[in-house]
């Protein structure tokens, strides 16, 4: 069984001018990062400033994956009432996208099967406050529907 919660428990993000594009795209199942118009370096989280050249002219581009797991943990502790455990949290990086590392849950496999280096597709799931939050999909277990994440098949409630 995956650890996807049926009723999202947690604390929603405070959305700012800099982060609103990310959360709006997340609701549509798309992972946006900032890209510098001048030097094309990508940055995450979004600051409205390029972390490579400090340029202030940034645009938002979609990353479609797949990514790979840089590191992970399986959380067993019920930090808040009603939190369903266990679930795996993965730090995902993307080949060809230096400067981008995104934290999210893992689904599509039992949490204990999380491994460093495993391939994952971009995805989102309903999170606290009605926001869609990153929820990556293990590639091997989801190979029948490889485009699920990028296509935004799962949206926030």
């Amino acid at each position: 069984m995956t650890a996807t919660p049926t009723a999202p428990v947690g604390i929603p993000p405070a959305v700012t001018e800099e982060t609103a594009p990310f959360w709006e795209a997340a609701a549509a199942g798309r992972l946006l990062v900032e890209r510098c118009v001048r030097c094309e370096a990508e940055s995450f989280p979004p600051y409205g400033m390029c972390r490579a050249c400090r340029g202030r002219d940034v645009e938002h581009v979609e990353i479609t994956g797949p990514g790979h797991v840089y590191s992970f943990t399986v959380n067993y502790q019920r930090w808040m009432p009603g939190l369903e455990v266990p679930y795996a949290l993965v730090l995902v990086e993307f080949a060809g996208h230096p400067g981008v590392r995104v934290f999210g849950r893992l689904r599509g496999c039992p949490p204990q099967e999380a491994r460093i280096g495993m391939a994952v597709e971009v995805g989102f799931e309903p999170g606290p406050g009605g926001y869609a939050v990153p929820s990556f999909i293990a590639v091997a277990a989801e190979s029948a529907v490889p485009a699920e994440g990028a296509a935004g098949a799962e949206r926030a409630a």
Partner: protein, 398 residues
């Protein structure tokens, strides 16, 4: 002991006093009262009176705390209660690397002569009130700043942030939980000799391996103990040393942030603290082999691992072998580690306040049954990554 020269600013200061309130899992007194207890104890320990104090500092400063149970009190109210005139004050939320760093700068530049800095926690009570260790930011209705990328996805605790470091470290270096267990196990043996430690009953490697997993691979005994208690430290001008009861020298200190200042964005999770340690060692002729006792940060077991390696007590990836069996890091070993029990058993006094207090006691020969014979050089480190600090303290006179 000259390093970059005798005019290093930290050589112009001493740590003159340390004081602590009662320390326990839960204490039925306010953070304010615990703070006053610790300050008065530290001032008396220095051989000073409250009227000698002309600088006040606390960490963190006012503002919204990330975790329930931060209980420093309000700096203005503490000053009012103490009835002191200050020429320098500091209360900072972000950026602190060592408890005595800012106070040392103030004293070295003549802005104050005797600064007291404190840190008070009631995280033990907060955990009890929450029915368990509470979530990060659980007192907030929305996750602001860096927490916006953590809390909504379920990374609800510092444990969830530090666990991927442990995963990555073990993956890169082949270090095992059976090896890392020796850090909490050995520190528990030290805590048995410290009457102020929160947990003092024996702990074995089997106990460690059988304990419940919190956020893998971090288990219960890899986590420091939420506690109630206050620690105060007095930093004084070295020129006042003759008036002080038992000062301790500051040989060198540094706090370098050379990676992304974010737990989850830190580039290389297998290596933390190296730039801070290198900058600190560049300020002294002492070497790792000169360190008699290591009071290094252990909010989680992995943080002690970082500092063992970054400080050069062992090489990268060698901490598992270094601590295995516990002999090297025990009292009587080559590097006695966290002789008060550390935060893992002594209590989460946080941000190296407890570590500093113990280092001072060791260098004075006032550490009771856990005294390291002839300790003259102590290493103190704090946190790691984006709040990294490292220092060497020495017995006085140098």
């Amino acid at each position: 002991m000259t390093g970059m020269g005798t005019d290093l600013f930290e050589r112009r200061v001493v740590i003159s006093g340390v004081g602590q309130s009662a320390i326990g899992r839960q204490l039925d007194r306010s953070g304010f009262q615990l703070t006053i207890d610790a300050i008065l104890a530290a001032v008396a320990d220095a051989g000073l009176t409250v009227d000698d104090i002309d600088g006040l500092a606390m960490f963190p400063g006012g503002g919204k705390a990330n975790l329930p149970g931060y209980a420093n009190g309000n700096l203005y109210e503490i000053q009012d209660a103490l009835r002191v005139t200050t020429t320098w004050r500091q209360g900072i939320i972000e950026g602190m690397c060592l408890p005595f760093y800012g106070p040392a700068m103030a004293v070295a530049t003549g802005q104050a002569r005797h600064v007291v800095v404190w840190r008070t926690v009631k995280e033990g009570s907060a955990a009890r009130n929450a029915g368990g260790r509470p979530a990060y930011g659980s007192t907030n209705s929305a996750a602001e700043g860096p927490l916006a990328w953590l809390l909504p996805v379920g990374a609800l605790s510092p444990v969830c942030q530090l666990a991927p470091y442990t995963t990555r470290y073990m993956h890169e270096y082949g270090v095992t939980r059976e090896q890392l267990a020796w850090i909490p196990v050995t520190q528990r043996a030290h805590a048995a000799l410290n009457p102020d430690a929160v947990y003092r009953s024996p702990l074995t490697v089997d106990d460690y391996l059988a304990s419940r997993m919190i956020s893998s691979p971090i288990c219960l005994y890899d986590c420091d103990v939420p506690a109630d208690g206050a620690t105060a430290i007095v930093v004084s001008a070295a020129e006042t040393a003759a008036d002080l009861r038992a000062p301790v020298g500051v040989e060198a200190m540094a706090g370098v942030v050379d990676g992304r200042p974010s737990w989850e964005q830190w580039e290389d999770m297998g290596r933390v603290g190296y730039a801070t340690a290198a900058a600190m060692w560049a300020r002294t002729d002492l070497r790792p082999a000169d360190v008699d006792v290591a009071e290094i940060y252990d909010g989680f077991t992995i943080e002690a691992v970082w500092w063992l390696e970054a400080m050069g007590f062992c090489g990268p990836g060698e901490a598992g072998a270094f601590v295995e069996g516990g002999k090297r890091i025990s009292l009587g070993g080559e590097l006695p580690l966290n002789t008060w029990g550390g935060q893992l058993s002594g209590g989460r006094l946080h941000a190296a306040f407890g570590h500093t207090a113990e280092a001072v006691r060791q260098l004075r020969g006032e550490a009771g049954d856990r005294q390291v014979a002839g300790a003259r050089v102590a290493a103190v480190t704090s946190v790691g990554g984006y709040e990294a600090g490292a220092a060497l303290l020495t017995s006085w006179p140098r």
